[in-house]
Amino acid sequence: MPHVTARTLRMAPSGCPMNLLSDKNISSNVTRVTVKTSGKQQDFMVADDTLVRQFKEKLSAHFKCEMDQLVLVFMGRLLRDHDTLSQRGILDGHTIYLVIKSKHGPQSVTHSFRKLPCDEPDKRDGTIKGNSIGLHQPASMSQTPLEPPFFVKPEMSKVNIQNLEVDSPGHMAQMLDNPSIQQLLSNMNLMRQFISELPEMQQLMQQNPEVSQILDNSEILWQTLELARNLAVIQEIMQIQQPSQSLEHSQNPQLHLGLETIPSEDNVLSQSHAGFSDQIPNNLHDIFGNNLSKVLLPGKVPEHVQSPPSSPPSQEQRDPLPQLPTTRVIYTSSCGLSSANTTPSRMNHTAKVNAATASTKDRSHKCAIQQPVEVPALPSMITQQEQTESKDDISLSDSDQRLEDDLQLLDEQTNSQITRNVMQLLMSDPCLAAHMMLFMSMPQLSEQWRQHMSTFLQQTQLSDLLVTLANPKALQAILQIEQGLQLLATETPVLLPWVAPYLWGLGWLPGPSCNFSDMAPWSWDVPDMIDPKGPEFCHKSEAVLQMLHSEDSAHSLQAPEIRFSRQMESLQAMGFGNHHANLQALIATEGDTSAALWKLKRSQGF
């Protein structure tokens, strides 16, 4: 027996109390209708002559959705707005079906497997639009399948993710600021599933099995997610770091890098973290960030993102990606990553010092990590000092061409703007390209890759010095020496006057012979961080170059010409008249006359 409650819209004309109305409702103006929707049903009291539109208004308020999302079905007929309920034959006790459309509509049946469960109307907390959340490579992902159970979770409320292409980092940052997204990102399992299920990711995984290893390692994934969560801050950093160089697009690639190449960048992360204690990765990131940002984005490094704390991932995931293009992307993304990971308190060399002192195990690894710190600075030095600078530029452009070819390949795979921007970046700055190559020769990469790198460098006819630098032992030795000196400087400041000459050589202290004003772009301004005890970063590259040579020849700071003068004379006596070629050969073979002989013979076609 229907009871008319206070929700009635009109009193009976006779003025009788509501509860006296008869069941038949012939004289009654109100009906009770049951509205069934998405497995629930609810009763509503409406007047007979209520327009469907009015009823929809009521429903939209009740179900918290737009009116045009509502579809009313009665007896298989769609209820039009201009009808009244009684016209459609809706009587008391009848059931009207309500379908709440999602804002984007459902997929067709054949594509139902890709359908977003969040599109379903019963999630009246708010529609969830598909998202290229940025945790996958293609920038143009418009639909992402997500597991239904996730959206059944009660705590997910009102998540608004745009179903659009990521075309502006500002937008991405805005999106990431959404705390719901943050929550989403912090759900490890979900994100892992999410990433795994993307078809593009699956495609990528087929091509690079390491990627799936990344995904399986929860630590790496967690770091990635931390990074993604902090990307908004990273973007700020990028913006502040915008140099006078025409890196206006670096903002995009940096952010996109972080966003879109996180899976591949994690490889580098995993490699760099392998075998390290918890402290070290933080320091390493600082070091990376210090120097890479110095290289890429000169200027004051402002506040940073807290570097993700990490525990060493499993060792077996350090396999590098042998493909050149992917590694390039790794580099660029790690640039973005590491720049973001700098901490202001470690912007200067106290960081290195801390790193030196804090690290108690795996010193060799530490040395290895620190190598790219010095190494990237070198090519700039070299290219400026070398008389064959033009040749370097040409050879670099060759390599850039190759890079570009490779990157185009990657471009097809990832469909992103990153590589294009990076390529432009490289083209505009050949020094940067050289840096990249040296960075590639990090000993963290496998022996295979290093050999590949050496060959590659030789093929591109880069300076032989760079080839030499691909020698891991040499780099290790450099770092060991520098480390020892750092240690001395901090532990025993009383010894500072004694070690000062060496530190000048290394560039740790402002030496009297700092006359490389054209090195200015590569040097830091750290006005507020001058540690009286610690060194100030200045013209390191020159010093390291000298260190290299000194390593070769009993610590004498001499140019190779002088060092190899004896060998040069021998070569010339044998009839090799090309002074420059001789010098190159000797540098490459480090003074070994007979080896240089072979080299020259080969190159001259004997």
Binding site: V73, M75, G105, E120, P148
Partner: protein, 168 residues
């Protein structure tokens, strides 16, 4: 205003026992059952049914069961395919999840009944929806109830609606 499109709605009825129930039921149950019925709704040139894997769809007659044993005309509907799919996905999230499947209480026929009412306002024939209670009213059915309860039926050949394909 142009007349709205009317789409026919059919009910496909399959006998899962393939005639065995008709022969053996008098002996085993003590009453005559014509078949063990599995039903699906066919509308917009697609067949929709509910099983232990949730709501699925396929081309009409496209499950492993083959062509239906009988077809019942339920009526016609104005509901468009788009709205219908929305409705189905909301059902699949709420009332007709795969886990909710129960051979007696909440089976394919429950689903067909629900959908038929949505589409046309009419229910499906009662001999189909009464089947579980018919079986349970026999001593044999009662005895076998624990076993029968655990049976999950999912006719192969359909695509899942409302969740990622191929993922559990």
């Amino acid at each position: 205003m142009e007349p709205p499109n009317l789409y026919p709605v059919k009910l496909y009825v399959y006998d899962l026992s393939k005639g065995l129930a008709r022969r053996l039921s008098p002996i085993m149950l003590g009453k005559q059952l014509e078949g063990i019925w599995h039903t699906s709704i066919v509308v917009h040139k697609d067949e929709f049914f509910f099983g232990s894997g949730g709501i699925s769809s396929c081309p009409p007659g496209g499950t492993l069961l083959g062509p239906p044993d009988s077809v019942v005309d339920v009526g016609s509907t104005e509901v468009t395919e788009e709205i219908f799919l929305e409705y189905l996905s909301s059902l699949g999230e709420s009332l007709f999840r795969g886990e909710a499947y129960n051979l007696f209480e909440h089976n394919c026929n429950t689903f067909s009944n629900e959908v038929a009412q949505f589409l046309t306002g009419r229910k499906i024939p009662s001999y189909i929806t009464d089947l579980p209670s018919e079986v349970l009213s026999t001593p044999f059915g009662q005895a076998l109830r624990p076993l029968l309860d655990s049976i999950q039926i999912q006719p192969p050949g359909g695509n899942n609606i409302g969740r990622a394909n191929g993922q559990s």
